[in-house]
Symmetry: C2
């Protein structure tokens, strides 16, 4: 039976959920790695290589560096993070729309004071990315009565979206956005896609949410846009450097919400179940599910 | 043309949206009242009566008092409040689940510290009420992957619910609830339905949200339950007396969220559109939409 090397923040949690598997700490003895990408990269760099690397993350950009080998099968996690991402996105959109902090402050003063508010229904949600995470967010947006537009490399129609456009149409779509949510992976094509020129196309009442990768967004361009009063709010869960430097002006900007890369956390229960499913395919010699295409990086 | 009496908090907003109608301030000259229930009740009590009273609210309990006439047609507003109620319910459920206030406090200290969290997916949402407002909440719950159980007088199946049970089964269902949301109207049958006995059946990790009417919930029983640590949180938008007395211990309870009856506000645009639609029916002599049954009170 092929042995498994665990490279995660909580190996004990995986061991208890993968009871029938055999584990090893020796990368040379392990045909299969179940690993966080950033923990696997140094071993790959040292010349070790599995037959199959099962990433416990959706984002595998840490494995895409040019000096790393690509002659192994790489799978990532899909279908798990979508619901969590959707819950994060709508927690923040709705808390802002319905002014939860303002009412909490009023409650502390026993103050009964209603304020007018708007509705998500009829608003336009623009999603950068149309994969399974974006589809979950789109589905919830539709349940709230939003118009949902997706933007992807190809512009191929996907379930849950009212429209999907190719990235070439981005500049025409950004002015429509009441909320712009990026779930894009970190690839050369997405680097600083949200920059001075593209951010300037957003309506001043728009909310930007980045739950994909920090590299998609140019932080200086964001701060300039916010400081011009040309963007309502940015909700940022991912950054070019993580943890975000405590000296970053983003932390204290009144129109920025910072969270520490928690939009979708890997719960071992769900990831272990998906891994076991794929392990059965591996043992039967069948093609693995959720394979990553090294040429695309996702 | 039948004249219309406006009895709302913002009559000018309705006049501008109902441009072709004729208005009067004389209740005797008006066959039609477009009115907030609590503003119409005193005129009814004085002996005035329209042929048709179009309530701008969903809840018409202020018109159900035993000394008020019932020999007029009463309609209420439907289909408008559901999306707003759903946005309120999930704003509060998600803000709590994803600890938005905790992360805001960390941000103020430039502190990067993730915390574990759960998912709505797989949780059970119990809705007291299965009408159009509850159906909107159910639909969003399903989009988030929740199991959605409805409780109604009859137990008749309704779209969007995994199960609907008659009120007689309430005690068997409450122990299932991760979230219990009441959208019940104020009727004799719903008075203090949530009392010491029924609240005790909720799991200690449950969240109670009342967006229906205050009379459904016994506040002393709620406080006792919270103080025993036997309920995670109560989110209350409606109260037996509104505004809530500033001396109420609910204001300062750490596990209670108070909002000033804002879960679904009447936006004149939408209500005027629904009124005009019904006015056309009225003028054609057709049955009105959204008629209230005086024997049920909704």
């Amino acid at each position: 039976m092929d042995k498994i090397l665990l490279l995660t923040g909580d190996n004990a949690a995986y061991q208890s959920r993968l009871g029938t598997c055999q584990f090893t700490d020796d990368p040379e003895a392990a045909a299969i790695w179940l690993a966080e990408p950033a923990m696997a990269a140094p071993l790959l760099r040292q010349g070790h290589q599995p037959r199959w690397l099962a990433s416990t993350f959706a984002g595998v950009d840490a494995l895409m560096a040019g000096d790393l080998p690509r002659s192994y099968q790489l799978t990532n996690v899909r279908g798990i993070f979508g619901p969590l991402m959707a819950q994060y996105v709508f927690a923040h959109l709705l808390s802002q729309l319905r002014e939860l902090p303002r009412y909490a402050a009023q409650q502390a003063d026993a103050q009964w004071q209603p304020h007018p508010y708007g509705s998500l229904a009829g608003q336009t949600l623009v999603l950068l990315g149309t994969g399974d995470i974006a589809q979950h967010i789109a589905q919830v947006g539709k349940a709230f009565g939003m118009r949902v537009i997706g933007v992807s490399r190809s512009g191929t129609p996907k379930p849950g979206f009212d429209e999907v456009h190719a990235i070439a149409a981005l500049n025409a779509i950004l002015p429509e956005a009441d909320a712009l949510v990026s779930v894009l992976p970190n690839t050369p094509a997405t680097h600083h896609l949200l920059n001075q020129d593209t951010l300037a196309l957003l309506p001043s009442g728009a909310t930007l949410i980045n739950v994909g990768r920090g590299h998609t967004l140019c932080p200086d361009a964001l701060l300039a846009q916010l400081n011009r009063g040309a963007l309502r709010r940015a909700v940022l869960d991912v950054f070019e450097q993580e943890p975000l430097d405590s000296a970053s002006p983003l932390w204290r900007h009144p129109n920025v919400t910072i969270t520490p890369h928690i939009a979708a956390t890997s719960f071992p229960d769900q990831i272990a179940a998906q891994f076991l499913d794929n392990l059965a395919r591996y043992r039967r010699g069948e093609p693995l599910a959720n394979q990553v295409d090294f040429t695309q990086g996702y």
